[in-house]
Subunit: 121 residues, 2 copies
């Protein structure tokens, strides 16, 4: 039984690399991950699952093929499974991702930005 | 395809009742719910699922049978399935709950504080 307090701000101090989600908690077969992002990511989709993104600090634009969603601190968005998207952050942005364990950050786009999965901090 | 921006602060302005979670988003078969809580809740457990609680504003103590976890703004805790707990907030606290759709707020303790389920705002 693990019921410890997880401090999101403190967890963000533990890493500095971009586009490399770190797991901070598990709920059933889902994981909570933190990431620092800056610049343009790659177009990708997660064929097996929706993906939730909560902005902890900064601003993030999620580009879809037919529109863009601009998110600021305290805002969130659920990207439906199978939907192509590309996150873009003009300056460093801190995000929390919630999705099933095993989801790879680049989804169907196996590229250089694919981060190691299931890295805990 | 729903990919709208969800502003957590704005959603909290839409209700004032306590211990009555409101759904703001769905991810696969999971829901994100907001609740305002104040005072003592009832001892209960969710036999079917873990439950995640993120403190959006204020402070919350989650009492377990063997310890207490005190949570402040920006902190979170995963309550494992089947574990008895009782949330207590000295003053009003705003929380986000993440759990599978269908989970009832009072879990196995069917009592007066059981809120209507699946209420969206």
């Amino acid at each position: 039984m693990e019921t410890n307090t997880i401090n999101i701000t403190e967890k963000f101090k533990l890493f500095s690399d971009h586009w490399s989600p770190k797991v901070i908690a598990e709920m059933n077969d889902y994981q909570f991950k933190l990431a620092k992002v800056e610049g343009e990511f790659v177009w990708h989709a997660h064929e097996e699952s929706d993906e939730t993104c909560i902005i902890i600090d900064g601003e993030l634009t999620i580009e879809f093929r037919d529109k863009s969603v601009h998110l600021k601190k305290g805002e969130m968005c659920v990207v439906p499974k199978g939907v192509e998207h590309k996150p873009v952050a003009k300056s460093e942005c801190q995000i929390m991702l919630i999705e099933p364990k095993g989801i790879v950050n680049t989804g169907d786009a196996g590229v250089e930005k694919t981060a190691e999965n299931d890295v805990w901090i």
